[in-house]
Symmetry: C2
Subunit: 246 residues, 2 copies
């Protein structure tokens, strides 16, 4: 980790100090010359670190006065919250179902054709391609809802699915274990949209995610079982070892 630029190192250290309460919000941290001496780097480096921190809103540099820790740390501003795969899937179930219901009333024939194409693409053996198609399938429906707030929300939920490590691993395990079922669910959704039936579209979308949650539960159950077995085996080894002394 020490191979990044020096000023980034310093920026991280200062940032850590801020999070750890060494430099409370609103407080003024030591002068550039002082910091340079403490960290054993040049003033330029301190300055670069400070500018980087200022650019992301963590500190506020005031000419002739000093460097001050921002009152409101921008933590929750950009960062996605730590949600479980279950929570995310439940939220997607509810929200995307409503998007599908909206879409059913106004989706264009072009979008329907696009969805047809994407379902075929999801059958691809290339995981990357299939995943991208999956994403686009849901995105097309979101856009067909003709509500930019819904589109943005659904995009954000997908970002959680990809950018949160724990969620991503859960999904990757579960998502393509039964491509057959997955394809059928997507087709059901598409059929409902083609029929312009909001109620059926909503139900189909919910069913899609309901099945996903159920599969996740099974998987996590199996995982739990496996862990228990492993622990038992380990303790058995330990027991056998300790039960046959010298």
């Amino acid at each position: 980790m020490g191979k990044q630029r020096l000023f980034q190192d310093i920026a991280e250290k200062i940032s850590d100090f801020i999070s750890d309460g060494v430099f409370p919000p609103g407080s003024r941290l030591p002068g550039e010359r002082d910091l340079a001496e403490r960290f054993g780097v040049s003033r330029v480096t301190i300055r670069e670190a400070a500018i980087a921190l200022q650019a992301v809103g963590k500190v506020d540099i005031r000419t002739g006065s000093g460097i001050y820790v921002s009152d409101d740390q921008p933590a929750a501003q950009n960062a996605l919250p730590e949600v479980s795969a279950f929570e995310l899937t439940e939220a997607r179930s509810l929200i995307e179902a409503e998007a599908a219901a909206l879409a059913a009333k106004s989706i264009s024939d072009e979008s329907l054709a696009e969805l047809d194409r994407l379902i075929e693409e999801m059958a691809s053996s290339d995981k990357e391609v299939a995943l991208a198609a999956d994403r686009e399938f849901h995105a097309v429906i979101a856009r067909a809802s003709a509500n930019k707030a819904m589109v943005y929300t659904i995009e954000t939920l997908w970002r959680m699915r990809e950018e949160l490590p724990t969620v991503k691993s859960s999904y990757d395990v579960v998502c393509y274990d039964d491509a057959q079922l997955l394809a059928k669910e997507h087709k059901d959704i598409l059929e409902a949209l083609k029929a312009r039936d909001p109620v059926v579209a909503r139900r189909a979308m919910r069913e899609h995610f309901r099945r996903l949650i159920s599969t996740m539960l099974d998987a996590s159950e199996k995982e739990a079982m496996r862990e228990v077995q492993q622990r038992l085996r380990a303790s058995r080894v330990r027991f056998l070892d300790s039960s046959v002394p010298g």
Copy 2:
């Protein structure tokens, strides 16, 4: 506004060049020495500007190679999308209704008491207090859904309501024009939650927003009428002026 720091000036200029397509995404911009000469500043200043731009993701500095414009400009990353007040309200209606339905099944007595208190607070004549109470009312219900993805989504939607200027003005006009109705709607929602009835809670929440949309439509209609009248009056003046020559 040339009174800000020099490196920020430079950073803005470079940023403008990027937005204007002078430096296309992915391209490499001139070396630090080159830029320094062109802008008539020192290399340090160029460097500080570059670091500020890198911190917000607009460029990527590669050691020994150069400064490159980021492929995906971070516009859509942090920024809220431009949504209309109608779109936002529709999305809130659908999403918060589902949150209420979830909450109905698991909300605690403490949260219910809190909601009671907040409804009283919303009756305050102080707009600030009433607005904060309104926000908290919806936030408490969101949290009671016990789904962090829903909580985050609803928080984000509220941010749109407050941070997007056009939306904010629409809401501020409409929201407190009939405090009587507003209070009744909130009470209806609370009653449904107390009864632990998801279906009624969902309906009550939807009704709340449905009425809001309807009021907005009325208001925008009145606004349109007013504009038309004003335009007519203006042209009448012009007509009278020009119809009496000399």
